[in-house]
Symmetry: C2
Subunit: 321 residues, 2 copies
């Protein structure tokens, strides 16, 4: 079982790498080789007992993708993207990485001729605009950011390449994944992690939206579990649409902050400042927070039960002191 991870240097890619190496198998076959690719060279994981190849990859360049997905690859996890804030600010970069990128990856898989599996990270950002809530499985995608539009385009390509038998695609609309470890990034959702991560690590952080703002979220642990679960499903279980919304939980920023207080006390909460950012609010207020992901639930994907667990898992897995 040779697995390639595109976007392996990101926090989800690193957690997925760790989880794959720990379980040692996928779809009942022993993990035999790992290819890790990202725009910056991924670190070689510690203690790997199988061959791990690390590649520096521009996913919009077909020659790079050929190295990131060498022949013999069985399963590709495609997690790489220009995030929402950057795709909004740099429109052509977004098209290049988030549209040409997946297309290159899918064409490479087609060229292999072996119908490799592709698990594609889409996003809750494919939904937006004037829509009744909750968002149902059959609700039209109506992205209100370029990032969301490009993710939705990747979904359509994934399902069509799958229908043609060029690859075996599974597209997952990830909720906002929080609490992320590491540093803030250019995602408009970045604050949804940093207002917990930084205070828990003794640093200040600003919340640019009202405490009433509701978020559709998923803990990193559950998200990695669901990425692997997608790879374990049989293609027939997905029917005529290879893409689906993942389960999550809805909480307001204020509810999440109170959950952090219950787990970690008053001090981290006191480190949060509350200065609104209208431009950022314009982006994130277009995102949806209420969903009925019944299809994913039926297929056995897991969901967050409370934000306290999310805070505890951050303290167990990720905190940098």
């Amino acid at each position: 079982m040779h697995v390639a991870i595109i976007g392996a240097a990101g926090f989800l890619g690193r957690k997925l790498t760790t989880a794959l190496l720990a379980r040692g198998q996928l779809r009942g076959a022993a993990l035999s080789q790992l290819t890790l690719a990202d725009v910056v060279a991924p670190d070689t994981p510690n203690g790997a007992t199988i061959p791990v190849q690390c590649e520096t990859t521009d996913i919009a360049t077909p020659e790079d993708i050929a190295r990131a997905i060498p022949s013999g690859v069985d399963v590709v996890f495609h997690l790489a993207a220009i995030v929402s804030g950057q795709a909004e600010a740099e429109f052509d970069t977004g098209l290049r990485v988030n549209l040409a990128g997946p297309l290159n990856i899918f064409q490479r898989c087609r060229a292999l001729g072996t119908t490799p599996m592709v698990v594609y990270a889409s996003s809750v950002a494919v939904y937006g605009g004037d829509m009744p809530t909750p968002i149902e499985d059959l609700t039209i995608l109506n992205p209100q950011t370029s990032y969301g539009a490009q993710k939705a385009i990747g979904e359509l390509l994934l399902t069509d390449f799958s229908r043609k038998g060029f690859l075996d695609g599974r597209g997952l609309r990830l909720p906002t994944v929080t609490i992320r470890p590491g540093k803030p990034n250019k995602a408009a959702s970045s604050f949804m992690s940093s207002i917990f991560r930084e205070p828990l690590q003794g640093q200040p952080a600003n919340c640019p939206v009202s405490p009433d703002y509701p978020v559709w979220l998923s803990a990193p642990r559950n998200t990695v579990h669901n990425l692997l679960h997608a790879a374990e499903l049989e293609a027939a279980e997905l029917g005529t649409d290879r893409c689906l919304g993942l389960p999550g939980m809805t909480a307001t920023i204020g509810e999440m902050v109170e959950a952090m207080r219950r787990v970690a006390g008053d001090e981290p909460v006191s480190r949060i400042t509350w200065e609104r950012d209208p431009e950022l609010e314009r982006i994130v207020l277009g995102w949806k927070a209420h969903f009925s992901p019944n299809r994913a639930r039926r297929l056995g994907f897991v969901e967050d039960r409370n934000f306290e667990d999310n805070v505890r898992w951050f303290l167990e897995d990720d905190i940098e002191r």
Copy 2:
């Protein structure tokens, strides 16, 4: 008012050209110039009293598109596409013309810097798969052909380019347009015209599906009316999704044949043969036939009332004897 029509040599493009020249204005401004572009050079229309420029254009080539959409263009109608049967048989040609094509056109409009209007012909083929019927305005797009997937991608790009202010897009999901004049083409829907057109013109034609097969259809007259109506709407009327399903009518092939009998007698009906084509049926049985296009109705788009009118209009407008 300078109007460009991409796909002007096709039957809808020619009818749209005729209708535009006949009305002489759009959005209250006198028509001053027409640029007609297609993969084969469009004919110069008879009796035009304004300048008409005809261009041979590969829409996947940016330099060609710059000539097809010269600076000063106010409104672009984009009707050009590789049709469903061909996009299924020639996957890469489909991606080139139906994905890169619209993207080039939208980027050209953006480069003009004047936010030109773009009326984009999408298709009922964006719907498909395991969906409850009727299809509602907010039902997810789930194309089951490459043509449909590529049209849906064009819709997402159109709405995103509009949201960014690069152009003023209006995307219309056309029902099957029948009865088309001219010759059969590689569209899987081609028979839905030829089984009426050929018999009405004294020729035989084969129906490759059962008479029970239902079609979501629109007459050429109503379709051209709706393309022009889309250009007359205010952008704000379209809200956060620039694309919508057009009204149509549902009829089975058998009902359509009986309507032709009522208008034109038994003889044309006797010229139809009924040999099934399983590969073609596989494509068209994936298409949906029952819709509730309430949004388009509220916006004043028109719909067919009966197929007898459709037959009469063909006899008035298009029959070649």
